[in-house]
Amino acid sequence: MIEVKNIKKHFGDKKVLKGISTVFEAGKANLIIGTSGSGKTVFMKCLVGLLEPNDGAILYDGENFSQMTKKERKSIRRKIGMLFQGSALFDSMTVEENVLFPLNMFTDWSTKEKMDRVNFCLERVNLVGANDKYPGEISGGMMKRVGIARSIVLNPKYLFCDEPNSGLDPQTSLLIDELLTDITKEYNITTIINTHDMNSVMGMGEKVVFLHQGYKDWEGSNKDILQSKNQLLNDFIFASDFLKALRKGIDNVG
């Protein structure tokens, strides 16, 4: 469980996060949604400490991450898996070496155990036969999936995914959502996902946090979204004509 208390972040005069509080529970897929530029990435980076919030506190299972020493943070970070919006694969390493990297760094497993684990993870993201390719030689969607494989290879306790299925086709996208939901349940992971994808929101959003202009404008489950009278949220979720019509239908029935 991760508790976020009144997180604020500004860059110079530009206030990006204006006091956000929420709770992300373990075993749940927690989704953060919001328009492009609303601060989802900044928020996620504050959570893992890549950016220092200007105010507020972040508690990892009750431990105050914000006040930890570098060393204490490191021990938390060993339990974190993170997928970056731009994948952030290591260019100088092959797909296989990328996924192998955390295992080589932090385990003393045998080569066979490590390779089995790597191939298992690559299979789960539906990426076989690309082991020896370099990041420069694969597509953006494939890079995303390698990034996901790398972030789950150490069985993290906390999993952060910044737009895991942007750039993926709908089928693969669904597969990734299922994978994230499955491992979240299976290993009781606290999973936090930034997304724009309405399929993901409706399909897996047990908890959804809607960011707007630096504030948390709404939170609830995907089921609540359909009932919500929050205008901003409705405009965001039901943006296309198709979805607007769908929404009307729901209202009429309701």
Binding site: K45, V48, L50, K74, S75, R77, R78, I80, M82, F84, G86, A88, L89, F90, D91, S92, F101, P102, N104, M105, F106, F160
Partner: protein, 232 residues
């Protein structure tokens, strides 16, 4: 930055692997250019010195002596390191800059890897291991280039070789090695620093690698002078 590097490595093997990769990068990648430049520097020095001596009463074996010492004391370490500042310095800065901009360094940090230790230390270490041998090779090739050019100029090979052994002071080799280590350290640290702290976008990576080359070249000649003053 240096302080952050002194911490227990997560997995010594991974650090060693990265060091070997860097050694390969710096050493093998620079061998040919350093070789060509040293060879011709020796050759040109020989021809021009022979030209300056012609008509004077200096014995021709002096040529070997002059080539040997100027290669060892100055040309091999300084010229090679200026070349390395350009080649290796820009390479290190742009590699780290790219890793910074594309969030690869952030990815390491989130995993709990000490990114300075993992990325910077192997580069400095590799430079310290591989640059001195490169300089030694450079000195040999320079002298060899001088020999071939001298023979071509019409000076007897025995004369040149006699000069090579004339008044050999091993301390000059010490000066050469001191320069090699100091320059290697300067190039690696300056370039890593420039690359590691890049902010902005792809354009800034280019600027950082230019700065890496300019600053490390200036520091190389500056320290060349200081070492010369202190050690001779």
């Amino acid at each position: 930055m240096l302080k952050q590097m002194i911490s227990v490595p997560e997995s010594a093997y991974m650090y060693w692997k990265e060091t070997v990769r860097q050694m390969n990068h710096i050493g093998v990648g620079s061998l040919i250019i350093i070789g060509i430049i040293s060879f011709f520097t020796g050759a040109v020095t020989a021809v021009q010195f022979a030209y300056q001596l012609s008509g004077s009463y200096f014995p021709p074996y002096l040529l070997g002596f002059v080539i040997r010492d100027s290669m060892i004391i100055e040309l091999a370490p300084t010229l090679s390191c200026l070349v390395l500042a350009g080649k290796v310095g820009s390479n290190m800065a742009s590699e780290l800059g790219t890793m910074r901009i594309s969030e690869q360094i952030d990815a390491l940090e989130v995993m709990g890897v000490n990114s300075t230790a993992y990325l910077v230390a192997p580069k400095i270490f590799a430079a310290l291991i591989i640059v001195p041998p490169l300089i030694i090779i450079s000195a040999f090739l320079g002298v060899y280039g001088g020999l071939l050019a001298a023979v071509n100029y019409g000076i007897a090979q025995e004369m040149f070789e006699k000069g090579l052994l004339y008044m050999f002071d091993p301390f000059n080799v010490v000066i050469m090695l001191v320069k090699a280590y100091v320059f290697a350290f300067l190039i690696a640290t300056v370039s890593c620093y420039q690359g590691f702290y890049v902010k902005g976008g792809a354009l800034d990576i280019g600027k950082a690698s230019t700065r890496a080359v300019v600053f490390s070249s200036i520091l190389v000649v500056l320290f060349d002078y200081l070492i010369a003053v202190v050690m001779t």
